[in-house]
Each structure stands twice: as structure tokens, then as C-alpha cells.
């Protein structure tokens, strides 16, 4: 009778991951310098506008996380490969983290810019909706011993959540709300001295979201291997003593 092969699993961190971590630390310092020292204070809103340099890249990181989750879920539904499921979980979790950041930093900025913390502006509402969809995904996945049915249902939910992302993006153009359109609108745009801070913010958040998704997916893969090995060994009665 064949015995289960103990997984030759390495938990060591790949070199590229360490390099990415170091790059993140350097980019963070560079971004903070550009935001607080190089970029001037905004004329109309004052110092609170500096939230913009992390708020917008956080929204972008949220898009990346949710897109990774939805695309990986679609591939998982087609191929039933656990690797894609790991990326789907990682994308949903990291995307939700950045969604929370967007939904908290935005109202803090709005208090100064609009005089209120929250308004049912199309972009704010659709962002909240996306957060709720992927939060539901995480709640579904957090139930103990998730089976194939739960995984597939959660994957479908993530694919459904993807439909909301273009709506968030184009909502300010289709249904003109109060949300700023400095980057994509036809207004005066950004002051030239503000552009390096925003650019560094985008580069930093790109590295950060890639790092977090990669690391979370690695942990999920390890968890999957551990679970598979436990099930296989238990089926063969190898783990009865302990």
C-alpha cells in the first residue's frame, strides 16, 4: 500500500521577496519625503490635501487586489487548481485592507473639503459596495473547514465583485458627483510640484500590494499543503496517535 509522501515544503522566504520588501521600505521613505517636504500645500484645502497622495494609490491598490481575486477565482472555477484559489484569497484579503484604508482616509479628507464625513456620492457608494462584496467573500472563506462548494460559491462572488470595479472608476464621469476628478477630469490638474509625490505614492503602493498578495498567497499555499497532508495521512490512519 503506497504511503503518503511527506511534502518537501520550504517555508524559507525567496530572495526576490526580500528584495521587494527592501524596495518597499526605501520607496516609503522617498514617498514620505516627496509628500511632506517637496509637494506644496494646496491652495484651497490646505494641509489635509496631503491625504490625496496615499488615498488615491490606496484605491488603485484596492483595484489590483480585487482584480487579482476575481481573475484568480475565474481561473479556479475553470481549472479547479488550488494555486489559483490561494491567489483569490490573497487578492480579496489585501484588496479589502486597501478598501478599508480608502473608506477611512476619504471621509477624513471630505470633512475638510466638503464639510461632511460621508455623502452618498456615486463613487463613494460603489466603493462601499465593492468592499461589502469582498468582505462577504472573506466571511464565507473564514468558516471552518471550507469545502469545494463554499470555495466555488465564494469564487463566483469574487467574479461578481469584479463587475463593480469599472462602475467605481467611471461613476464620476457618468453620474457627476462631488468626488474630485483631478487626475482624470478636465480641470486644472495637479500642480507640477505635486506630481512626484503622487507618482512615488503609486510606485510604493504597487510594490506594497504585490508584496502583500505574494506573501499572503504563499501562506495560503502552505496552509493548503498542510491540510491536504493531514487529510491524506488521516485517511491512511497514520496520525491516529496524535
Amino acid at each position: 500500500m503506497p504511503q503518503p509522501t511527506p511534502a518537501r515544503t520550504t517555508t524559507a522566504r525567496p530572495v526576490v521577496l526580500s528584495i521587494l520588501t527592501a524596495a518597499c521600505a526605501l520607496l516609503l521613505l522617498a514617498a514620505l519625503y516627496a509628500i511632506f517636504v517637496v509637494a506644496p500645500v494646496e491652495k484651497q484645502m490646505g494641509i489635509v490635501q496631503k491625504i490625496f497622495y496615499f488615498h488615491v494609490p490606496s484605491a488603485y491598490a484596492m483595484y489590483v487586489g480585487f482584480t487579482v481575486s476575481a481573475v484568480s477565482s475565474a481561473v479556479y472555477l475553470a481549472k479547479h487548481d488550488e494555486r489559483w484559489d490561494a491567489f483569490a484569497v490573497a487578492g480579496a484579503e489585501v484588496g479589502s485592507l486597501f478598501c478599508v484604508i480608502v473608506l477611512v482616509t476619504g471621509p477624513l479628507w471630505a470633512r475638510k473639503a466638503w464639510g461632511t464625513f460621508w455623502t452618498w456620492d456615486p463613487r463613494l457608494t460603489t466603493t462601499l459596495l465593492a468592499g461589502m462584496v469582498f468582505f462577504a467573500y472573506l466571511v464565507l472563506r473564514s468558516f471552518g473547514s471550507v469545502g469545494e462548494v463554499e470555495k466555488r460559491f465564494a469564487a463566483g462572488l469574487a467574479v461578481f465583485g469584479l463587475l463593480d470595479l469599472p462602475i467605481i472608476h467611471f461613476s464620476v464621469q457618468r453620474w457627476r458627483g462631488t468626488h474630485p476628478t483631478v487626475i482624470t477630469g478636465k480641470g486644472g490638474g495637479l500642480h507640477p510640484d505635486m506630481k512626484p509625490a503622487l507618482l512615488l505614492g503609486f510606485v510604493f503602493f504597487t510594490a506594497l500590494v504585490a508584496l502583500l498578495i505574494w506573501q499572503r498567497a504563499r501562506v495560503e499555499r502552505l496552509r493548503q499543503r498542510c491540510e491536504a497532508l493531514e487529510i491524506e495521512a488521516a485517511e491512511r490512519g497514520l496520525l491516529e496517535e496524535g
Binding site: F36, F52, V182, G188, G189, L239
Partner: protein, 114 residues
Amino acid sequence: MSQRRAVRQIVSAASAAVLMAAIFVCVASAFAQEQPAGATADDRAQAFQAVTGATKEDVPGGPLLIAAYAVVWLSVFGYVLRLGRLHGDVAQSLARVESAVTRASAQARAPGSE
């Protein structure tokens, strides 16, 4: 093993403290710049311009800015710490299961074990 973990935790805490200090210094330097006021909602929504000359703010933006950056960094650090703990727990479980399986397989292969 636990000593290495303690050292890692101390290094993480020290890094977080240095980062917080760096953020504080940056925010403090930004406060040195003076603030302006007034304009229509459309002006604010479509263009960001640099301040010229000294002005005063009606709603203080400083506390809002600090709160926003605190939320960003506490969330990210909290998530990284959670991820580290999760990774440690899973790696430990995996090592335990692997060694149990290896032991059980060796016993099953041993002569006379049938």
C-alpha cells in the same frame, strides 16, 4: 528558536518606532507651511494649486491628516503582523504533520510491521 523570535519581534518593534518617528518629523515639517482658505466646490474638485502667501484654515486639517496617516500605517502594520503570525502558525503545523507522517511511514516500512 524562541530567542530568535524575540529578537525578530524587538527588531520589528524598533523598525516601527523609527518609521513612526520619520512620519512625525515629516508631518511636523509640513505644518511649518502656512494654509489658505475659500473657493467653490468645482474649483476644489478639478484643480490642485500651490499656496501663495500666508493664510489661515477654518477647519483644522492637521488632526485629520494625522488621523488619516495613522489609519493607513496602523492598518498596514497590523496586517503585516497578522500575516507573520499566520505564517508562523502554518509553518509550525506543517512541520508537525510532516514529521508525524515521516515517523509513521518509517514505522510502516520497518520489517515485521505488517
